[in-house]
Amino acid sequence: MTFDLMIPGQLIGALLPDVVLMGGAMLLMLLAAWRRESDAWQRVVAVGALAVLAAAAAAVLWMMRLDADASIGVIAVDRFRWATDLLCIVGAGFAIALMSEQNPRARLVAGEAHVLVLLATAGMMIMAAARDLMILFLGIELMSIAVYVLVAMDRRRERSAEAGLKYFLLGAFSTAFLLYGVALIYGATGTTNLTEIGARIILYKLADHPMLLFGVAFLLIGFGFKVAAAPFHMWSPDVYEGAPTPVTAFMAAAVKAAAFAAFLRIWIEAFPMVVLRWFGPIWWIAALTMVVGNIVALSQKNVKRMLAYSSIAHSGYLLVAIASTTSMGSSAFLFYLLAYTLATFGAFAVVSVVSDGAERGTQLSDYEGLWQSRPWLAVGMTVFLLALLGFPVFGGMGFFAKWYLLQAAIASPAPLVTLSVILVLTSVVSAGYYLHLVRVMFMKERDGAAAAVPASGPLTRLVLITTAVLILVMGVAPERVATWSRLSAIGPAPSAISSLGADTPELMPPAVDPAARR
């Protein structure tokens, strides 16, 4: 069915999953404040939050079944949006499951944390839907403000408060850049709608308009901060280290996925022409991000920091998919995001068990002899690390994720051969730190004086088993997911490419003097 977005009722229909999630979050907020804060009540709120997420996921699946479509408007109704929504919902579910167990261990009583995860997820879903820069801005802020609070949630622990401050200041700074970019793009094209921007750039031949180029540059800087791409990555290791581990996992997986999805949509729908001019900068950012992330990760002694740098490197890999600017690239992008989300949540779940909620045991030495004390934890961590590395068979779908990514990079109109070579070489470098951690877990003896690694709770165990099994199963049979990601891909409109040389009527560009309007 097709939604007409100009009719309010149908607009709400097209936003059904988002409305379900936000309505549920509001009700849960009341529920969280209903009783005195306690561990038991916190658990009730967590169960409620999982139920709301399940309802939102059901709404997304229902929309997918309807094969809904929409007129051109402020939001997109397409399979790319549903795919991103599902990724974010899965991430939020894992985060809530981990948090409901880790918060009591960290002596953190905050039922509203689960509600904040829901609100952040609502922001992400709006970002995935946004086809208007104004909606995009609202989505980004809804997500970011909730995540600022989540990072600083454990405020009595100084590191968490410090991470919150850093994330907040850098986040607000990057938002200002993004917003200035939006203002300049609005100035150059006279609209904030992505489809309209794309059409007007072609119609009025604005691709080289300096205001537009500056606008895109600022947009790029803003998104660079959000996805932690080099050289805008400096905040992320500090923030990832200081934040409570479940929140770190949520940031590394879901927040990044949503920011990338919005970035990809803008890139493909609004700027297929401008991309030609921006190919160089994106190329360099991708290359730099892969190199910096992987090289610096080698020297980390703290596992959370190491995973933070590895997540920066993964931003670089994802940027390769974006640089390819094809629908094949965006399908590889979705497949990669799924593999990355599962592996990241698994790895951080192990970290949260080993550090016992108190964020003490995050050094490499705390992982010594994990194989003897908690063999399954060590095996699980190995699977997740190999998946992040992209190792065949034992790394499950991680291998295919990189494989599809390379395929898309080579098959793009301008083959990204050098970038693919950098991707492969930096992946080899990443083996240095992933396998080092594996070696530490399996081959070193645990210091007798060190505290024992606590047992994982049932929910954490569920997260570990789900992610590990999914990674391994999809590593054996990736076809279904590959088909799903291919169907959910978005590509540049063929008209955008073909009209590059076509003779468009010579119209006045919209940047005329104000008098003409009146």
């Binding site: 104004m134 801005f137 609202l138 802020e141 403000i145 600022y148 609070v149 600083a152 405020r155 100084e158 590191r159 408060a161 410090e162 991470a163 919150g164 401050l165 850093k166 907040f168 200041l169 607000a172 700074f173 938002t175 200002a176 850049f177 917003l179 200035y180 939006v182 203002a183 300049l184 609005y186 100035g187 006279g190 609209t191 904030t192 290791p237 500090d238 923030v239 280290e241 200081g242 610096v296 980390q300 703290n302 920091r305 919209p510 940047a511 005329v512 104000p514 309007r517």
Partner: protein
């Protein structure tokens, strides 16, 4: 008028960026970010003379969001102040690699 407004907004934005990059007090940093946001607002208002109401709607959204952000941001700054009795970023250095 449009060109002048846009130039003024660019200058304000640049002052904000320089402030964020050079100052070390969390509150002043935050004020500089707000200055950047207001520079953007000025751009939007100036451009909306050209293109119609969209820019003005955007300004309302930006102001609302900035207020929400300020609430969260100041709360985080207070949390830091309770640990350090200071909001100077030079003293805030537990996390570094």
């Amino acid at each position: 008028m449009l060109a002048e407004s846009l130039v003024l907004s660019a200058v304000l934005f640049a002052i904000g960026v320089i402030g964020v990059l050079t100052r070390r007090n969390a509150i002043i940093l935050f004020m500089c970010v707000e200055l950047m946001l207001n520079a953007v607002n000025l751009s939007f208002v100036a451009l909306s003379r050209l293109y119609g109401a969209t820019g003005q709607v955007f300004v309302i959204f930006v102001m609302t969001v900035a207020a929400a952000e300020a609430a969260v941001g100041l709360a985080i700054i207070i949390a830091i102040f309770r640990h350090r009795q200071s909001v100077n970023l030079q003293n805030i250095n537990l996390l570094r690699g």
